[in-house]
């Protein structure tokens, strides 16, 4: 294995370069487009060198696009805020509900615990529309259609299984003896949970929270079905751009860049936990 020939090293280098180009090119290209005016974008052949402009970002952030035909309102900041609010709140709720449940599943093998845990897991793999389509009709009757409350509730389908299964693994990794020792000292189960289990599982809980945030942020179909324009996150909002008249390709690109930056940044930060999170705790990185 150590004696790799020069030819092999060159071939490996070429293969890796192609891989990196294929996976990085779209992101780099859209990033470049976001700093271009419509005129440079529409030029053929595509330009690699151009005079960068911040006009696209200014238009998105101020929400006003000046065109020859007049001023156009862009609600993108609203979408961005919706994404932040929906993701943060959903993860907070999922942590609040999921961490105690994960602790129960990890520490107490109670009747039906495995069945319940697997039912929650199966939500991760059931077709979303199976639940969403009837839910739209219910939500309309209950007055939950197009409300943050309704959306956050449904987002639990993404966040809860993830948090439950990852955090459960971290609780299982804590030796039970440590907790027993603390209990013998006369402390209540809640004190044990708060002072021993939570801090020890802390990194895992944080990682699960970050991942749940990424998945909530990236979700598309829930909001597409259940939310109308003023509650839509960036995934749905940015897509609507392409059909709306007057908005230019540079602004769409800038919107994409702003929409994917938070998840990419978080992913880089949490990359140590990504393998574990993506496999719901089956593979450790």
């Amino acid at each position: 294995m150590e004696h790799t020939s020069l030819l092999e090293r060159i071939l490996r280098g070429i293969a890796l370069t192609l891989v990196v180009i294929f996976f990085m090119f779209p992101i780099v290209w859209i990033f470049m487009m976001s700093f271009q005016t419509n005129e440079t974008i529409l030029r053929i052949p595509p330009q690699l060198v151009f005079e960068p402009t911040l006009a696209n970002y200014t238009a998105l952030i101020t929400g006003k696009l000046m065109t020859a035909a007049g001023t156009l309102d862009i609600a993108f900041m609203r979408n961005l805020w919706n994404s932040v609010f929906l993701s943060v709140t959903s993860v907070a709720v999922a942590l609040l509900l999921g961490v105690p449940a994960a602790y129960a599943f990890a520490r107490h093998k109670f009747r039906g615990s495995e069945d319940i845990a697997f039912t929650l897991l199966s939500f991760r793999f059931a077709p979303a529309l199976l639940v969403l389509l009837p839910l739209t009709l219910y939500f309309q009757k209950l007055g939950l259609a197009n409300t943050y409350f309704g959306l956050i509730w449904v987002y639990q389908l993404i966040c809860l299984p993830l948090i439950l299964w990852i955090v459960r693994g971290y609780f299982e990794d804590i030796p039970a003896d440590i907790e027993y020792a603390y209990r013998i000292g006369g402390h209540s189960w809640f004190a044990t949970f708060r002072k021993i289990a939570l801090p020890l599982a802390g990194p895992g809980i944080a990682a699960a929270g970050l991942l749940a945030f990424i998945f909530a942020w990236n979700n598309f179909v829930f909001a597409l079905v259940l939310a109308s324009a003023d509650k839509q996150p960036v995934t749905v909002g940015a897509l609507a751009f392409i059909t709306s008249s007057g908005i230019q390709y540079g602004q769409i690109s800038a919107a994409i860049v702003l929409s994917i930056t938070p998840t990419l940044a978080l992913a880089l930060y949490a990359q140590r936990y990504l393998v574990e999170g993506l496999s719901l705790g089956a593979v450790k990185g």
Partner: protein, 307 residues
Amino acid sequence: MTAATVQRARPSGFRISKRVLPYLLSLPALLVCIGILIPFLTSVVYSFQRYRLSQPWARQFNWGDNYISFFTDPKFWNTLQVSLLYAGITVVLELLLGLAIAMLLQKRSTLNNFISIMLLMPLMTAPALAALMWKLMTNPGFGVLSYLASLIGLQDFRWASSPSTALLTVVLVDIWVYTPFIMILLLAGLRSLPTQPFEAAALDGVPRSFVFFRITLPMLMPYILTATLFRLLDSIQQFDIIYAMTQGGPGDTLTVFQVEAYLNFFQSTNVGRSAALMIILWAITYFLSNIFIKNWLRLRERARGQA
């Protein structure tokens, strides 16, 4: 043993709470999810009804009619075919590509680690936005990929807007987003393999193809199975990429299960047919996820054992 003695040493009055406690802890999570189980049952009911939102007065049970009509419905067979084709092609290509990249990056080095982190970026991009990115790049007017295609003689290559290349285009986007998923799982698997068999094989001068097929692949199999089933389950339900890219078009080229159900519900307002489609998809995923969970559990126990 120690656990049992400790339990006995505990103050009395604690026993009741110990039995109830786990239920209390998991109850809130369960309550939230029960609200989600109800629509699932509703879907089952709808699937046995003639139910169109445009004709609410004509709503009635028609029992198996929605399902029976599928047999003679070319649109349904198209849906089934496209869904299976899409899932099959994406999973096979992503598996081969993901395995190849994982093996390229197997050796721990700063460059390899850096590349593997970079390759995570597509996976962390929302699939709907990834589709939008590719849509911009394949735009016939200014798209850089359309331009590159024209350079290699493919004038007027229409990507997602032509029925003959639409599937190829969405598959390409799927590969872009999800190959890193398989790559990162297999890379973790490869790096966790014991080194002794490989050292022994190197000492004996065993050919590398033999090492790959007889040592690496079998040892990696649990990871490959888990990654494949994970992807298969998601891929057969793909909605975001296809809907964002073509809305199931052109025509009904890409009306996979979830897209077809969505269009049936919101465009033709045929709730009954939409629900029946989802139940069939659910049956397929249920079958797959049962195989999946066994593998996943085995791998999970192994990961926890190592911890």
